[in-house]
Symmetry: C2
Subunit: 94 residues, 2 copies
């Protein structure tokens, strides 16, 4: 699927239920994506790990989640103050 | 430091403040450990990422945190029921 833009294969994990994001990853895989990047910041990082583990253990037992990067991102709070947040990127490869 | 047992270089991240664990990692490094494994389960995973990022960005800017593994562990609840929890291991190499 060379026509897919890279940002179509990213799932941003936030405050919704874990299974919403699991479904998003599985859907992208079923539509032809060979890899999906699961990204999260702050407290959602734990949920992103849950998403990757559920995809691997329940839906795609041959998938690989070995490529994991962590980083620090600086965002602005509602009051305009800078805030540093940890971030994670988990690459799920079919 | 070949005499160090491997489990002396592990920091388990739990519910305490992030800086407690940062201090534990930095202390182990200063006592001669060339690598420290930061481990966490469940909601503490986000805090483990914070610990690794703070160690790397504030205390040991040459440290490497590229070796990250995620897994699923099964534990027993207080009532004896099995519960699956995601886990993370971040290896910090001096």
């Amino acid at each position: 699927m060379a026509e897919l833009k890279s940002n179509e294969n990213i799932v941003f994990v936030g405050q919704k239920g874990t299974m919403s994001y699991v479904l998003a990853v599985v859907t992208q895989m079923n539509q032809g994506a060979s890899e999906v990047l699961v990204k999260a910041r702050g407290k959602a990082i734990s949920r992103a790990v849950d998403v990757a583990e559920i995809v691997k253990n329940k839906f795609m037992t041959t998938a690989n989640t070995d490529s994991i990067k962590i980083s620090t991102e600086e965002i602005s709070t509602d009051e305009g103050n800078p805030l540093k947040l940890s971030a994670i990127e988990i690459k799920i490869i079919k």
